[in-house]
C-alpha cells in the first residue's frame, strides 16, 4: 500500500523505506522552534536534565512574539531567559524586537523552513509550514527541549484525511473562509491525530498566503499537520528565499485516506466562527444583528501581506464605525515596512484604525486590545475559546480579513460585498 505525503516525509526522516499508520518512529529534525512563552520552560527542562549544548545551532529558531515588546516585568524576564539562552548557545535563528515577527509568518518569509522539512515547534500553529510541503507539527516545551538536545523527536505515524480542491474562490473569500468552513463541517476534533492533506486542481488557484492560512488552522480541527503539494507557486515562493534546498515529496497514487472530502472553492461563502468554538460556523450574511466593539486584523493566521492588502482595499478612504476600535497588526517587520512604503499605514490611520508593530498581542488575550465583559470582537485570528481575548464574558468571532475590515466600517458583522 502507498504512503501519504506526510508518511513519506516521516519515513525519509526516520531513515526508513516505508512507514505505516500507527507506527512509532524516531525522526531527524530539520528545525526546532520555540517562542517567548514556551522557550523558557524548555530551557529550564534542558538545563535540569543536564544538557549543556544544543545539537545544532543552525537548526533551532527562537522567536519572541507573544508578549514583545515586553508587556510587563514578568514577560520581560521570560524574554531575558530566551535571550541569554540564544546568545550563550549562539542560536543563529534568534529573532528579537526589531527583527522579529509572529513566528509562523516569519519563518516561511525568511526562508528558514522549506519543502520536505521535518519541523517541530513548541507552538500549536507550527502546522502552518505544511503550506510549503513540509511536515511540521506543534509540540510542548519538553519535546522542544529534547529536540534541541538531540535533533530527534518521536512520532506516531498519522493516517490522513484528503481534501480534494477544485475551482476558484470568489473574489470576496480567502483561504480563511476555506478552512473555517472545513472546520465547521468536520468539527474541532474532526481530524484528531490525523494529517489533513490538500490536493486537486483547485490548489493552483490558492496563493501561498492562502495555503499558509489554511494549514495554520489544521490544529483547530485537531490535526497533527496540514500539508499542500509542492507546485510551481511553491517553487517560485521558495526560490532565492529558502536557506536549505527544498525536497519535494508526493503522495503515492495508491495512498490510503480515512476519508476524502470534495471541496469546490467556487462555492465557498464568507464564513464566520461564532463563540466559543471554531466549529460554530455561520455564513457572514446571516450575522447582521451581531454588533461589535472591536476588530482585530493580524496574527499568524491573517497578518500577511495579502491580508493587509484586503484590509487596505476595504478601509482606504473610508471611516471605521463610531464605537468600533480597529486594530491592525502586520505579522512581521518586513510586512510592517511594506505597509508603510505602500501607504497602507497612513490609509489605516486616516480611516481611524491603529497599527501596531508585530506581536501576537490580542490574539491570545495578552495585551494590545483586551476585551471587557460583554464586548464583542471580529478577529482574523484562529481561536474563539472562552476568555481567549479577555474577559470570560467577551466574545470573539473569527473571520477573513475581508469580513473583518468590512465589519469595522459598519460596526456589525458584514461581508465585503456589502461595503463595496
Amino acid at each position: 500500500m502507498g504512503m501519504t505525503m506526510t508518511q513519506k516525509i516521516l519515513a525519509a526522516h526516520a531513515g526508513l523505506d516505508y512507514v505505516s499508520e500507527g507506527q512509532l518512529i524516531s525522526a531527524k529534525l530539520d528545525l526546532v522552534l520555540g517562542n517567548d512563552i514556551t522557550t523558557p520552560v524548555a530551557v529550564n527542562e534542558f538545563e535540569k536534565a543536564g544538557f549543556d549544548k544544543v545539537f545544532n545551532k543552525d537548526s533551532i529558531a527562537i522567536v519572541l512574539d507573544h508578549f514583545v515588546p515586553n508587556k510587563d516585568i514578568k514577560a520581560a524576564e521570560q524574554s531575558k531567559t530566551c535571550r541569554q539562552f540564544a546568545n550563550c548557545q549562539c542560536i543563529s535563528h534568534f529573532y528579537d524586537v526589531g527583527k522579529m515577527g509572529i513566528e509562523h509568518a516569519l519563518l516561511p518569509e525568511q526562508g528558514v523552513v522549506t519543502a520536505g522539512d521535518c519541523v517541530i515547534g513548541a507552538d500549536s500553529h507550527t502546522c502552518t509550514y505544511g503550506a510549503l510541503g513540509a511536515f511540521s507539527t506543534g509540540v510542548g516545551s519538553t519535546d522542544m527541549a529534547a529536540g534541541m538536545a538531540t535533533g530527534m523527536a518521536w512520532f506516531k505515524v498519522p493516517s490522513a484525511i484528503r481534501f480534494n480542491l477544485t475551482g476558484k474562490l470568489p473574489y470576496n473569500c480567502s483561504g480563511k473562509d476555506v478552512i473555517l468552513s472545513i472546520i465547521g463541517n468536520i468539527g474541532v476534533d474532526g481530524a484528531l491525530y490525523k494529517s489533513m492533506e490538500f490536493s486537486g486542481d483547485g490548489v493552483q488557484n490558492l496563493s501561498i498566503d492562502d495555503r499558509l492560512c489554511i494549514c495554520n488552522m489544521a490544529i483547530e480541527a485537531g490535526a497533527k499537520n496540514g500539508i499542500f503539494p509542492v507546485d510551481e507557486i511553491t517553487q517560485a515562493y521558495m526560490t532565492n528565499r529558502c536557506e536549505r534546498k527544498p525536497v519535494v515529496f508526493e503522495a503515492d497514487k495508491d495512498a490510503k485516506y480515512d476519508k476524502v472530502y470534495e471541496i469546490d472553492l467556487s462555492k465557498i461563502k464568507p464564513t464566520v466562527s461564532c463563540p466559543h468554538l471554531p466549529e460554530n460556523t455561520r455564513n457572514a450574511e446571516e450575522l447582521h444583528d451581531i454588533t461589535i466593539d472591536q476588530v482585530v486584523i493580524g496574527s499568524c493566521t491573517n497578518g500577511r501581506m495579502e491580508d493587509m492588502e484586503a484590509a487596505y482595499k476595504i478601509l482606504n478612504g473610508k471611516t471605521v464605525a463610531q464605537n468600533t476600535r480597529c486594530i491592525i497588526i502586520p505579522a512581521t517587520m518586513q510586512i510592517y515596512r511594506d505597509c508603510i512604503e505602500r501607504g497602507y499605514v497612513t490609509a489605516f490611520i486616516d480611516a481611524g484604525a491603529v497599527v501596531s508593530t508585530p506581536t501576537c498581542g490580542p490574539c491570545l488575550g495578552g495585551y494590545m486590545g483586551i476585551l471587557a465583559a460583554g464586548e464583542r470582537c471580529v478577529s482574523t485570528t484562529n481561536r474563539n475559546f472562552v476568555g481567549r481575548m479577555g474577559h470570560t464574558e467577551s466574545e470573539v468571532y473569527l473571520s477573513s480579513p475581508f469580513t473583518a475590515a468590512a465589519s469595522a466600517l459598519t460596526g456589525f458583522i458584514t461581508e465585503y460585498k456589502e461595503v463595496q
Binding site: 512509532l24 512563552i37 514556551t38 523558557p40 520552560v41 529550564n44 527542562e45 534542558f46 535540569k48 536534565a49 543536564g50 507573544h66 508578549f67 508587556k71 510587563d72 514578568k74 514577560a75 524576564e77 521570560q78 515547534g121 513548541a122 507552538d123 500549536s124 507550527t126 506543534g138 509540540v139 510542548g140 516545551s141 519538553t142 519535546d143 527541549a145 529534547a146 538536545a149 538531540t150 518521536w154 474541532v188 476534533d189 484528531l192 491525530y193 490544529i219 485537531g222 497533527k224 468554538l277 491570545l364 488575550g365 495578552g366 483586551i370 481561536r383 475559546f385 472562552v386 476568555g387 481567549r388 470570560t392
Partner: protein
C-alpha cells in the same frame, strides 16, 4: 501504581485557554500558574481540589494551544489522573512528557459523575467507580510510552539512553 480521589467532571472540548488562561502565561513558575487552573470554567476548582483527585471529561480534552503549562498546572494542583473520551494530540504528548497520567475511556468518561470516588490502577488500566461499584478498563499505553513514563518523563528517558 494506584490512585484514588474525588471526581471533577467537565464537558467536551475543554481547551488549554480555560485550563490555564494565556493572560497568566507571563511566568513559567508552576505553583504561581496553578492558582488559576480551570478558573474560566470553574472558579472554585483550585479551592476545592485535593491531592489525588481526578478530572473526568468528554471528547478532545486539552484542545488548543501547545502550552505545556496546561498539564503542568493540573498536575501541580494535585490531580492524579485525567480520564477523557479523547485527548487533543499535543496535550496527550505533553501529559506523557511531564508525567501526568491520562487515560482514554469513553464509557467511564460518560458514566462517572462529579463527586464520585474513583480509583485507578495504572498498570492494568482498571478504573473503579467506588460510588457506583462499576469497573471499567481503559487502553493501557503502548510499551514505548510506558518506558517514557517509567523513566520519569521524556528528558530523563533520553538522558538514560545517552549513558547506556
Amino acid at each position: 501504581m494506584n490512585t484514588q480521589g474525588k471526581v471533577f467532571k467537565y464537558k467536551d472540548n475543554v481547551d488549554t485557554d480555560v485550563i490555564i488562561p494565556a493572560r497568566y502565561l507571563n511566568t513559567p513558575v508552576a505553583a504561581e500558574l496553578a492558582l488559576h487552573c480551570m478558573e474560566d470554567i470553574d472558579k472554585d476548582f483550585v479551592k476545592n481540589v485535593k491531592e489525588g483527585d481526578l478530572i473526568v471529561a468528554g471528547w478532545n480534552f486539552g484542545c488548543g494551544s501547545s502550552r505545556e503549562h496546561a498539564p503542568l498546572v493540573i498536575k501541580t494542583c494535585g490531580v492524579s489522573c485525567v480520564i477523557a473520551k479523547s485527548f487533543a494530540r499535543i496535550f496527550y504528548r505533553n501529559a506523557i512528557n511531564i508525567g501526568l497520567p491520562i487515560l482514554e475511556c469513553e464509557e467511564a468518561a460518560e458514566e462517572i459523575s462529579a463527586g464520585d470516588e474513583v480509583s485507578v490502577n495504572f498498570d492494568t488500566g482498571e478504573i473503579n467507580n467506588k460510588t457506583t461499584g462499576k469497573i471499567y478498563t481503559a487502553q493501557p499505553f503502548p510499551p514505548f510510552i510506558q518506558n517514557i513514563i517509567k523513566k520519569g518523563g521524556l528528558l530523563a528517558s533520553l538522558k538514560e539512553a545517552d549513558n547506556e
